[in-house]
């Protein structure tokens, strides 16, 4: 019920339209009710008393009544559609806004397909309720009450007889509702699963095709499609049984009236006209009764869908901006980590329903996806060991270059993602200019932190728009300059429409290196004080990497830079090198300091560069001494 009220609150904004709509509805109902009365006049006066003038008057009255009723009908459906579409629009906007503000911890676990299904399908079901559902509910109630009132005024005895069916209909409706609601929930859930499978298949099409796994994908899809079919059919089957059953029960009222009323007419205590009018009122109840079943279905469906919508809207982002924070537009770029501990588990625990399982929550931390019944929005992975980052202390002065190196999974990327506050630390603090990042407005903080992520996310827009992603006001000159700096200018110039070339959703028609350079240009364009390069040059070719590094060196001057790298060569010039292992800093110092002491850094150096030294020497020897001698 709370869910329904919340859905209705969205309609409150459009109360004027709603009001007009409902007035029109009432108008339609009244006019509809008047009609049998006119018919009674026709029969009792016009025909019974052979009064042709009355007959004509009545005919005219019917025309008037119906013209007005037509206008009311239009007004009703227009207002109703208007309000419900506005509500759907508002909910979609709210959802989208909320989703994009939820922190990384949330998106790490929620699947795009699942979220999509909520923003599309569940919003639609809620809309139908807010629009048609409520309208029909009101309509049905008013119709019932007024028809009953009229029937009572015509003959209370007959009314009582016909009322006998009402409790039966009520019981049926209640029974139906309690059974159908969980079914709808399952239908929606399964729909989300189906959407997610589809979404993943489309985004992963390259892998699917490379492994020639199309048949497997088809069967995977079929399984979910089957389950969806099955659930849907089960629901509609119940519907098919219950709706006509209600009609049947209500038509039993007609039978009772026919029998009982017939007797009264024979006895002479009731006029034929009254019996006919009474019966036609009763038959008018058949429509609303049929509607009633549908209403119950809409309500149940809206509750099931509403739950799923509010689940998103009620999820507070673990990364929240305190209110009343002062604006800080510029920073110096001093970054301090004090005893920072971070674990993904903690970050997720901050999402209600993920950490703790509550009875009411539809969330459950799910570990085995096989249990499809329990598939919910967030999937636990448990992939992360307890703490990803432990007791990190570091200090980066403005304009310093800090390099992070370590094994895959040692926490390098995680560490850097704490600076723009993509995640909140579990304990300790991350400070920028001596102020905790939590004391910054997120936009202020992030505007000063440029990040080039490992995974390059580009958007379907032009090259220029993608570069200007973080700074839409940037002039074309700025965009070009950034492209130059990122060594992207050359390839952009070769594109069919240069900077105006549209690139696909995930930049499909650009190579990895090209995409990465666009991402670098994008980060440079916001002119950040802090620059984070998370393995930013991994997939560009050697020559380009040098060019980029050359350019970056200039750009890094005057910025605090964090470089996450796999290769020592890219970080030897750093002011500080931090070697990470299992989330801890195991070594720190400059390159020259670190290669003098035994430890992991020296090991890596031995692995990477010592060989290289020799190779390089050898190569140099070859090149320098006698390039032509070999063979």
């Amino acid at each position: 019920m709370a869910i329904l009220l919340r859905l209705l609150r969205f309609a409150y904004k459009y109360r004027l339209f709603t009001l007009i709509g409902y007035l029109c509805l009432i108008g339609t109902i009244i006019l509809n009710l008047v009609q049998p009365l006119i018919f009674r006049q026709v029969i009792d006066v016009g025909i019974g008393e052979r009064n042709t003038t009355a007959l004509m008057e009545m005919a005219f009255a019917i025309v008037v009544v119906n013209v007005v009723s037509s206008f009311c009908g239009f007004g009703m459906s227009y207002c109703n559609e208007y309000v419900s579409q506005r509500v759907a629009y508002d909910i979609r906007n709210d959802l989208y806004d909320h989703l994009q503000r939820l922190s990384f911890a949330y998106h790490d676990r929620a699947s795009t397909g699942e979220l999509m299904s909520r923003v599309t399908s569940d919003v639609e079901h809620s809309r139908v309720f807010v629009g048609t559902g409520v309208l029909q509910l009101v309509n049905t109630v008013i119709l019932y009450v007024s028809i009953l009132a009229i029937m009572l005024s015509l003959s209370w005895e007959l009314s009582l007889v016909s009322l006998a069916t009402l409790p039966l209909i009520g019981i049926t409706a209640v029974q139906y509702r309690s059974r159908v609601q969980p079914m709808f929930r399952q239908v929606q859930r399964q729909w989300a699963v189906l959407t997610a499978v589809l979404q993943e298949n489309i985004t992963g099409v390259r892998v699917v095709k490379a492994f020639a796994r199309e048949p497997f994908e088809v069967s995977k899809f079929k399984t979910e499609n089957d389950a969806y079919l099955e659930r849907n059919v089960a629901t509609t089957r119940l519907q098919s049984l219950v709706f006509p059953m209600m009609v049947f029960i209500s038509s039993m009222g007609t039978v009772a009236i026919l029998w009982y009323g017939g007797l009264q007419v024979i006895e002479g205590s009731l006029s034929v006209g009254s019996l006919i009018a009474f019966n036609s009122y009763l038959m008018r109840l058949a429509g609303p009764t049929r509607q009633f079943g549908a209403i119950v279905a809409w309500v149940s469906r809206a509750i099931a869908s509403g739950e799923r919508l509010f689940e998103i809207l009620d999820t507070p982002s673990p990364v929240r901006e305190r209110s009343g924070l002062p604006a800080r537009s510029t920073i110096d770029g001093q970054v301090t980590f004090e005893n920072v501990v971070f674990s993904y588990g903690k970050a997720f625990a901050a999402i209600p329903g993920y950490g703790a399982v509550t009875e009411t929550s539809a969330f459950k931390p799910i570990v085995h996806a096989r249990d499809r019944e329990d598939r919910t929005l967030l999937r636990g992975t448990g992939a992360s060991p307890a703490s990803v980052i432990q007791e990190i202390n570091l200090e980066a002065h403005p304009n310093e270059v800090v390099a992070l190196i370590g094994h895959t999974g040692s926490g390098k990327s995680t560490l850097t993602s704490l600076i723009p506050r993509f995640y909140d630390v579990s304990s300790g603090s991350v400070k920028v200019d001596g102020i905790d990042v939590k004391e910054y407005r997120l936009a202020d903080l992030r505007r000063n932190v440029g990040i080039v992520m490992q995974e390059t996310l580009l958007f379907s827009a032009t090259v220029a728009e993608n570069i200007a992603f973080g700074n839409v006001e940037a002039s074309m000159t700025d965009i070009k300059r950034a492209a130059h700096a990122a060594q992207a200018y050359e390839f952009i110039r070769d594109l069919p429409e240069q900077f105006e070339t549209k690139i696909g959703e995930r930049g499909v028609n650009l190579s990895g290196g090209q995409r990465q350079r666009l991402a670098i240009a994008r980060a440079l364009l916001i002119d950040p004080r802090i620059l984070i390069l998370d393995d930013a040059t991994a997939s560009v070719d050697m020559k380009t990497e040098f060019q980029i590094q050359e350019a970056l060196r200039e750009l890094m001057a005057g910025r605090t830079t964090f470089i996450v790298a796999q290769r020592l060569s890219t970080i030897t010039h750093a002011d500080q090198i931090l070697v990470l292992d299992h989330g801890r800093i195991v070594q720190r110092g400059t390159h020259l300091e670190l290669i003098t002491v035994p430890g992991p850094y020296l090991d890596i150096y031995d692995m990477q560069l010592r060989d290289q030294d020799e190779a390089r020497d050898a190569a140099n020897r070859e090149i320098v001494s006698s390039p032509t001698v070999i063979k």
Partner: protein, 629 residues
């Protein structure tokens, strides 16, 4: 489904003209199309269930009879039983009414169950059909079509057909049936009065026709805009990290609001238009009622008709317009269905650019020799990216592709796997032209490791097993061991059963890449392609997997793309590419002596190595380790 023959997805003899528009264009083009075509197309899906439809129709006749019998029984009760004080006849009429109601209930249950079952089953097979077609469509389709828009076709547009299928077909039939029944009854009761009522028929026909055309166009716009909303959502939800990193939330909210608002505007325009339809029909029905009241009243007065007959007639007139206003109420969803159906079938009819020939045969066990002969290839006609490539790789050989970004290295891989068809020349594997064999048998023997690993949601075990579905746990573990991933996996609380989700978030990029190595390894391909595959694995890890990679590459023909020259020194052939041509080829030593492009690249890498002190040369060990030859 088991049939691997990718005949174009046309189940049965369909006449749809193959669309010459590009897939991404038909979203925008709102041209004229005849409804008939969509209905016919839908019929193909419904066809298998025509027996069900017949049953459903039979039940519908029962429902109609039951419904129509009601007023007639009441007429009998009033005119004959009550007027003549005939209690037993009254009892018969009452019992008859109960029986009629019972019939209506049971028949409605059966009928609507059958129809919703048919409807859902048809949607099910449409989704399956679409999905299978999507699997067949080649990359140039995916290059153009965004995931969100495909999604919107598969979900929104298919569902738009739902109402049409579950209620549309049968209810329309039922409405028509009821109409005919009522007309007959009315004529039976009083043909003069019936004739007078029928005058409104042509008017209704005209109004409906006028409405239909306009409404259809409006709903087509709605569906198109709807797909824009979905596409925007899909892209921005999956790209949410970039959005947050650049503080784009407010701007994106505005953008989304724009798309969303446009959707709203079009919807309201369409619904406003169709909201007018019902009242118009109501008004016309009033005219008919008035005619009946006036004319019928006269007839009764003249003694040409009984009161009971007039009452029954009025009831029938009411019911006469019921199916008509039903039809109008269903109008919205019918229009949406037509518009949705059009888009669904457009996707289904999208030609498959790369498909197996009719006479394609299974490529048997290969040894792995690859030959390119004068290959010309272009993604976009007129802009060749490979301009005459010839190469030959003998089994077990390691071919390295070197060159700048955009030189065409990845294109070679794309066409070797036949993700795209070449324009000219030929590619043969063990002497078989790759276009002559089935794609599945070709790709099964070629392993590909991409730069950006993509994992599916599921367990780590499932993801490794993706390379070989029938692999047992031991094989999975062996593959994980080979790439030195086993220890990491068993260190996780749930081991191999750890769930990986969409982006494999919470695993590092390197860990994801290792899983994708294991996935390629377990497939045991004869030809292996590593597309800058170790770029995201750190050197230490790289060392760890070196042994695994050596094992992986041994005895397989390998194509390696790497930016770092040091990683490919050991290759048996290095192909240096530039602007779609191979400009140099040979072993590392040979190329150095040529003092050409490679030589310069090589020199530059050492000279500019990091650009700082002499002790920090930039080049480093194997991005991809190679068997030392």
């Amino acid at each position: 489904m088991t049939s691997q023959k990718p005949s174009p997805a046309k189940p049965g003899p369909t006449p749809p003209p193959p669309s010459h528009r590009r897939e991404d264009e038909d979203d925008e083009v709102l041209g004229k199309a005849y409804d008939q075509r969509i209905v016919e197309r839908t019929w193909i899906f419904v066809h298998p269930y025509r027996i069900h439809l017949l049953w459903s129709l039979a039940l519908m006749v029962c429902i109609a009879i039951g419904n129509l019998a009601g007023p007639y029984l009441i007429k009998i009760a009033i005119d004959d039983a009550i007027a003549n004080s005939n209690l037993s006849l009254l009892a018969v009429a009452a019992i008859g009414y109960v029986a009629a109601s019972l019939l209506v209930w049971v028949a409605t249950y059966g009928q609507s169950y059958i129809m919703s079952w048919v409807g859902q089953t048809v949607l099910f097979s449409m989704r399956r059909e679409l999905f299978m077609h999507l699997q067949r469509l080649s990359f140039n389709f995916y290059d153009r079509m965004e995931a969100g828009r495909i999604m919107s076709r598969m979900t929104g547009d298919v569902n738009a057909l739902n109402d049409f299928l579950t209620s549309g077909i049968v209810s329309t039939a039922s409405d028509l049936f009821v109409l005919v029944g009522i007309v007959l009854l009315m004529f039976a009761l009083n043909w003069k009065l019936a004739l007078a009522t029928m005058i409104v028929g042509p008017i209704i026909g005209l109004v409906t026709h006028l409405y239909r055309t306009r409404s259809r166009n409006l709903y087509r716009e709605v569906r198109w805009q709807n797909s824009m909303v979905t596409a925007y959502l899909a892209e921005n939800i999956s790209g949410v990290r970039a959005v947050q990193a650049f503080s784009r939330e407010n701007l994106n909210q505005d953008r989304f609001d724009g798309v969303n608002r446009e959707n709203l505007r079009r919807l309201i325009r369409a619904t406003t238009f169709s909201a007018g339809f019902g009242p118009i029909i109501t008004f016309i029905s009033t005219v008919a009622t008035v005619l009946v009241v006036w004319f019928g009243g006269m007839l009764v007065l003249n003694g040409e008709m009984t009161l009971g007959s007039l009452w029954a007639f009025l009831a029938y007139v009411g019911r006469f317009f019921e199916p008509i206003s039903d039809l109008s109420a269903r109008y919205n969803s019918m229009q949406a269905a037509m518009a949705g159906g059009e888009r669904v079938y457009a996707l289904m009819d999208t030609p498959v650019a790369v498909q197996d020939r009719d006479d394609a045969y299974q490529l048997g066990e290969i040894s792995g020799s690859v030959k390119f002969k004068d290959v010309i290839f272009e993604y976009v006609p007129g802009r060749p990216v490979l301009r005459g490539i010839s190469l030959e790789a003998t089994p077990g050989e390691v071919i390295a592709l070197v060159g700048h970004t955009g030189a065409g290295k990845s294109s070679i891989i794309n066409i070797l796997l036949r993700f795209y068809d070449i324009k000219d020349g030929s590619i043969t594997i063990d002497g078989h032209d790759i276009r002559a064999v089935t794609m599945a048998s070709l790709r099964r023997q070629v392993g590909l490791v991409l730069q950006e690993p993509f994992l599916f949601s599921g367990t780590i075990r499932d993801n490794i097993r993706y390379g070989k579905l029938e692999a047992n746990d031991d094989e999975v573990i062996a593959a994980a061991r080979a790439v030195n991933l086993h220890d990491f996996i068993i260190g996780l609380p749930l081991g191999y059963d750890t769930e990986v989700n969409e982006r494999g978030a919470s695993l590092s990029q390197g860990q994801k890449q290792l899983i994708s190595f294991a996935r390629a390894l377990i497939a045991d391909p004869r030809i292996l392609i590593l597309d800058e595959a170790t770029a995201s694995v750190d050197t230490a890890t790289e060392k760890l997997i070196q042994y695994g990679l050596d094992t992986l590459m041994r005895g397989r023909t390998s194509f390696v793309i790497a930016h770092r020259l040091s990683t490919i020194k050991a290759a048996s052939q290095i192909l240096v590419m530039r602007q779609g041509l191979i400009i140099e080829r040979g072993t590392h030593d040979e190329l150095l002596t040529q003092e050409g492009y490679y030589y310069n690249l090589h020199r530059m890498q050492f000279r500019e190595g990091g650009g700082n002190d002499d002790h920090a040369p930039v080049d480093e060990t194997a991005s991809v380790s190679l068997p030392h030859v």
